[in-house]
């Protein structure tokens, strides 16, 4: 991945991340190796334009909290080994309420707040504003692939507007548990957040709360009955990816998975044209019950 807008964080992260990842991997390899069918460790590689934001921020927090935890463990283990009760050894009589101790407490608190909280907060706010929660507003992403997602027990209904780009028309493409969208290679590392064809989704539900989880896109959003939630991502590589439900939705919750098919732009256009034509052929004007599209929410 090459990204122009995050050099500082990423260049710092590079080597440290490698070290940390090695350490964690080594620690986990032992049990992992025991299991013969160990096929994966960690999330699959990000395939969306801002998926790296999760990966990087996760690693940043791993480093920050890891160092904090190490310091804590040293401070825990040193007295455990050094200051065991024994004959002739007496604890120091220290209430920790001297001015020095108070200052020390305050300084550590400020450091913790700045390093652990403020740093992560700033990065996270940037990531939210530029990625996760930066759902394109009206007119911001004219090329967007728009999808209406209607969740139900226990399946995902996807509706795409088809070639006429209007919802609620006879050529709307309806798919079940399979979402087909185009890849936008140019979106990778692009300063323009909405480069290529971002996929914008409107989510709702027929019955209970579901949650659309696309692990390789690093996004997740609840589908609430009676409301429409929005979410977006831009896939950057063609391939088949997972669709999972992340909110308990009844006893077959675990079976509510699907497939996200990301096609190259040309393949997608061909698919869309054909799917639209198929939808037209299947359209039944008498069957009002099948027409559940809603007004697009931007």
């Amino acid at each position: 991945m090459t990204l122009s807008h995050s050099h500082s964080v990423r260049s710092f992260l590079g080597p440290v991340r490698a070290v940390i990842a090695t350490v964690i991997a080594a620690a986990s390899l032992a049990p992992g190796a025991l299991a013969q069918d160990a096929t994966r460790w960690g999330p699959k590689e990000s395939a969306s334009s801002f998926g790296w934001r999760f990966d990087d921020l996760f690693m940043l927090i791993v480093i920050l909290t890891g160092v904090s935890f190490l310091i804590m463990m040293v401070m825990l283990l040193v007295p455990v080994f050094r200051d065991k009760a024994r004959a002739g050894h007496k604890a120091s009589f220290d209430h920790g309420r001297s001015l020095h101790d108070k200052r020390f407490t305050a300084i550590v608190s400020v450091i913790v707040f700045i390093v652990l909280d403020a740093w992560v907060l700033v990065v996270a706010m940037r990531d939210l504003d530029e990625g996760f929660w930066n759902v394109p507003g009206p007119g911001e992403a004219p090329n967007a692939v728009r999808v209406q997602v209607l969740a139900q027990q226990w399946a995902w209904n996807f509706r795409q507007p088809g070639v006429d780009n209007k919802f609620g028309t006879p050529d709307d493409i309806l798919t079940l548990n399979e979402l087909v969208v185009p890849a936008s290679a140019e979106a990778e590392g692009n300063e323009d957040w909405f480069a290529g064809r971002p996929v914008v989704l409107n989510l709702s539900s027929k019955d209970v709360i579901h949650s659309l989880f696309l692990p390789e896109m690093r996004v997740k959003r609840d589908a609430n009955p009676g409301a429409i939630n929005r979410m977006w991502f831009t896939p950057i590589r063609p391939g088949d990816y997972a669709i999972l439900c992340a909110e308990l939705c009844g006893f077959a919750h675990y079976q509510m998975h699907g497939k996200l098919r990301v096609l190259s732009p040309a393949d997608f256009d061909a698919w869309e044209a054909e799917a639209s034509a198929m939808a037209l052929a299947a359209y039944d004007e008498n069957d009002a019950g099948a027409q559940w599209a809603w007004d697009w929410q931007e």
Partner: protein, 574 residues
Amino acid sequence: MSGEHKGGFLSTYVFSKDHKYIAKQFLWFGLIWLLIGGVMAMMIRWQLANPGEAFPLLGKLFFPRTGGVIDPDAYNMLFSMHGTIMIFLGLTPALIGAWGNWCIPLMIGAPDMIFPLLNTLSFWTVVIGGAVGAYSLFVPLGALEAGWTGYPTLSTTVGTPGSGETLWAIAVFIIGASSIMGGINYITTVVRLRAPGMTWGKLPLTIWGLFFTAVLNVLFLPVIGSAMLLLIFDRVYGTQFYVPATLTSGGGDPILYQHLFWIFGHPEVYILILPAWGIVSDLLSFFARKPAFGYRATVGAMLAVTVLSAVVYGHHMFTTGLSPMLGESFMLLTMIISVPGEILFFNWLHTIWKGSLRLNSAMLFSLGVIFVFGLGGLTGLFLATIATDIFLHDTYFVVGHFHLTMAASALFGAFAGIYFWVPKMYGRLMDERLGKLHFWCTIIPLTTVFCTMFVSGWSGMPRRYADPTSSPYVAELQYLNEITTIAAFILGAAQLIFAFNFIKSCFWGKKAPDNPWEVGTLDWIPAYPVPHGNFATTPTVVTGPHEFSHPALGPDRDWISQTEALPETEGKTA
């Protein structure tokens, strides 16, 4: 109980108003439910590692229709009831009910709780709640299936038509009433019944933890009560508070429930953890033979957490479609909690620094709280940060996180309390060798279980999947589930050591001296059996609870009772 307590069998042993007897009742009640919830946990883990295979030994007993196989609906019931039981019927009684009742009057020098009848009522109300919860397991269509959080609309008749869910809501409502009664009692007792000289600054930190817990209980249990009441109305009387207008009908809002639930649910985390923090803060000082470092800062940090706990609940709802500004505000507020959290760790670690550590079972479990809460608390940062929480929300990362914080830490706090106070409660010492074995057989598999959960969550395994092999993406992580399950069964088996030790020691253990730990708090003044009314003469407090290793005390003695004046303080360091 106390030898002098006069009364009939019922008023002595069943409806006793003596806080010490009620504490024992709470403790046994909580431990029995912890056992039930623990067996459920084993079944959950079994199903995750071996989906579709019959649960060994007990399976045919519990699931006769399927020959021991845990069907997906039974699995949903298991994890839902596991959560409910562990939180409301296991940890709350065993930690808050037992140690609140035991410690508060004894440690502040009071003869009993200020409202003894309310105290009795509090216990028997939770018994009724537990009975209703237990009954819900046997009704047609089974118990709660919507997770312990019971989100509508799954928890309304839309998703769970059976009566089990209604009974669950009623049970939670009743248990909430019990906690409110307890909370009122604790607060009033601490405010009104402190012994002469027991200023707020001389209260043991255990009392502070329990006090803040009681405040949270009184403030936020009514919220869950109202949420449950609306849910009951929705389910039984057909109102639509939570059923939205969709393609079908309705006019309510399921998100309303999430707000109500989490405005209670997040403080509930601190309700469970604050007593453990208090106990640990005291015990670390007691067994490091060193004054508690930064007493005021510790109390202040607990107070700050208590206040903040009410305004951070939104971090449970980052993916529900919260307004971005609201979400980011909750992210900031949540992160701020790490500051008081850090102060607690800072003070604990400085308390043991340069101490003279007596590494007995109670101390080991207190140190264990630092370890598991450290792990759990720090991983909270991943979930407070929205950009990472979006991926990690509702994955096993969350499961690992909250088990380490509110389950393992609270449980370790309860264990530390048991190892510490049983010598006064039952007059007998716990077996130290078994206690240490219990500690090591607990903390190692426990760390494995929940750290492996972090890995599977980070790898994208969602929670509450009855059969993780169903989806190809998740099936690749099955080896992690297998590791977790093996460790979980070791962890479960290790608790049998505790059960054996506890029962053996309580009834046949070595007789304990009056003050086996050589600490100065008031609870160690009365001799076993502690009489009704606790203190022959009301003690007068002149010293703080943690004045250990005072330089003027001489070589043979490193502690001083709270009723004794400190020697001249010229040797005081720092």
